[in-house]
Symmetry: C2
């Protein structure tokens, strides 16, 4: 099945690290793919800009030095890469890469298989890269059909944040913990984690960086919300850990002292009232860094014994380990509550061309709380 | 069985954090314990000063400000604790603690059980704290009988370093790695690890901090020895990792950038020639910190993707996980080669009183390569 109005060429956003140590992001005309027997062609209605997209999109470039070129319909943004960013992206120099982890849209053409044809005309959510485009071809099996009445914008963020939130909870359980700590907790993802933890009765300690963010989460029913900028933070965190026995944290900040402070408070809470041990408590304390809101080095003071670990956490390897059955159960839960528990709020919508306007970049690339945008690739500019 | 010459009181070294935020280490007269049915009393012939003993002994005190008191036979050393050290040892304030992880000596009294009586007169190696003493009572089952002709000094270090070396190798295997990186590799422990890796055919990358240390290990047959103070270090380490596929490191340094540099080189070696991935390679990279030669913060630049982990490693929890059968096999290997593969060299011997002389402390507390001392508690001062 192919709709009559599918064009042969359409727009796609692409990112390239140049041989001159710069990032170049552009809106390009590309061929619209033709679906294979088990595939469907999706006209993309919405694709969120997640923090995890920005690394591929801008490669750590200094966006304060960005220059705009091209035309209004085919804009090009160029910005220089600092030396560390250039080193880290050496292996992608000269490659024009599509961007966009997830999105949703309408199936406008299908392959010949039953599984593909069954999706004709449906609104589906998908993940897998290259979503900042007017059309995206996907395997039918990878499509998550959205419930009736849920449009592309409402369903665009059905994978990254919801599956990350559920993946954190599954990781907590897999590794024998019973309560969670989360940083940058007023984020879209943090608010979602708070809703899921309330639903599931999991004690959650939310760490934020301002009184305003604290108010957001308290207003949403969070029990433990701590502002890391206050003097009482370490004492308050120690008390909250003593109360909840939270021995695992998911940290979106990455740089600075936050991971170290969390481990220090865990150790203080866990060793209180116990006899002195020269090696610290024997209770394992885990911090997983899953974001880099602070790109500076992680500084660990190691005043928390030897039963600790700090490591990277990423959704994809977790899903590989979890296997198809658990993934299916997680997906089912997300689809059933995509407009409630797993809903995502946006500061605004951007067409593909608008995504490359300097003012828009300045707004969404800050990754500040409340500045999440969604790209609507099918918008007429 | 009790020898006629076992006194009722004998000397023991004890360490106490005072309410005035100071460490006070002294040689005290204490009761000589009487062994229970399954126990033996050991006249301690030798107990090494391992880096792992210094934390309990001096609690991170500023030894440059140490003052000596007491008498020649019953010396007392006092030194102030910097604020961080005082905080870290708050739970041991006012407690007088015995010191000394391991040692060896002669069984001079036994309980009534067969297992205990069988050890009468034997030279045994033991671990479990309080070894800096003239007498130590132990369960017979915890004693490792030393081979004929091996004296207390030769057998004093039969546990900490040998079991740590074997524990590192077992951990490497348990976690799916096939080659090792080791830092501060010219240490007593490092030289031992090098001998075991050569015996077992395990590729080992030794990282040292001087040309002299490099020479020591090269002279002992090490294939990969890298000096981290050279300009070529990062390139050389990357090349050695590419050659050996070493994805796990045991780091005795702890502070500074070394763990981060190792992870960076692992990632560079592992991702070379592969297509760019925005999240780095998917091969897990592990650094275990097991020492604190540099007590400063660990700084991680996080330019090595998300498949990484830095954590504390300690022998005891590893042994608990390994279980009795594996421990027995490890012990057997150590006992069989205690004067060869697992031999330990000392810069000198110290009586209990000499251990508290300022010049002696200055020598062994530096933890510099080649400054390992052994305490001989039964020496006549």
């Amino acid at each position: 099945m192919v709709s009559d109005d599918v064009p042969e060429r359409a727009l796609q956003l692409r990112s390239q690290v140049t041989y001159q140590a710069a990032i170049q992001v552009s809106v390009e005309d590309v061929d619209v793919p033709v679906p294979g027997p088990d595939q469907v062609l999706i006209r993309m209605g919405a694709a969120p800009i997640n923090p995890s997209d920005l690394g591929l999109l801008f490669a750590g470039a200094d966006l304060s030095k960005a220059t705009a070129g091209g035309t209004a319909e085919r804009p090009v943004i160029t910005a220089p890469l600092p030396p560390a960013a250039a080193r880290a992206t050496a292996s992608r120099v000269g490659q024009s890469l599509p961007v966009g982890n997830e999105g949703a849209g309408t199936v406008v053409a299908t392959g010949s298989s039953d599984a593909a044809r069954r999706l004709a005309g449906k609104t589906v959510a998908v993940a897998g890269g290259a979503m900042y485009a007017q059309y995206r071809c996907m395997d039918a099996a990878a499509c998550m059909e959205l419930p009736d009445g849920v449009g592309a914008v409402a369903g665009a963020a059905s994978f990254v944040n919801p599956m990350t939130v559920l993946g954190m909870i599954e990781t907590m359980r897999d590794e024998g913990h019973t309560a969670l700590i989360h940083t940058a907790a007023a984020s879209n993802l943090g608010q979602m984690l708070n809703r899921v933890c309330i639903e599931d009765g999991i004690p959650l300690i939310n760490i934020v960086r301002s009184a305003a963010q604290l108010k957001v989460l308290t207003g949403q029913g969070a029990t433990h919300v701590l502002d890391s900028t206050t003097d009482a933070f370490m004492d308050d965190l120690t008390a909250a850990i003593a109360e909840t026995s939270a021995t695992i944290a998911f940290d979106a900040v990455g740089g600075g002292h936050l991971a170290s402070r969390i481990l220090t408070c865990m150790e203080a809470a866990l060793s209180a009232g116990r006899p002195f041990s020269r090696y610290g408590s024997d209770i394992h304390k885990q911090v997983y860094i899953y974001g880099s809101l602070d790109r500076g080095p992680t500084e660990l003071t190691r005043s928390f014994g030897l039963a600790w670990s700090v490591g990277g956490w990423l959704l994809t390897p977790f899903l590989v380990k979890a296997g198809p059955a658990r993934i299916a159960a997680m997906r089912e839960r997300v689809a059933a509550s995509i407009t409630t528990t797993f809903a995502c709020g946006y500061a605004g919508q951007l067409s593909l061309a608008e995504t490359l306007q300097p003012e828009a970049i300045a707004a969404y690339a800050r990754m500040a709380t409340g500045t999440k945008y969604v790209i609507v690739p099918d918008a007429t500019d």
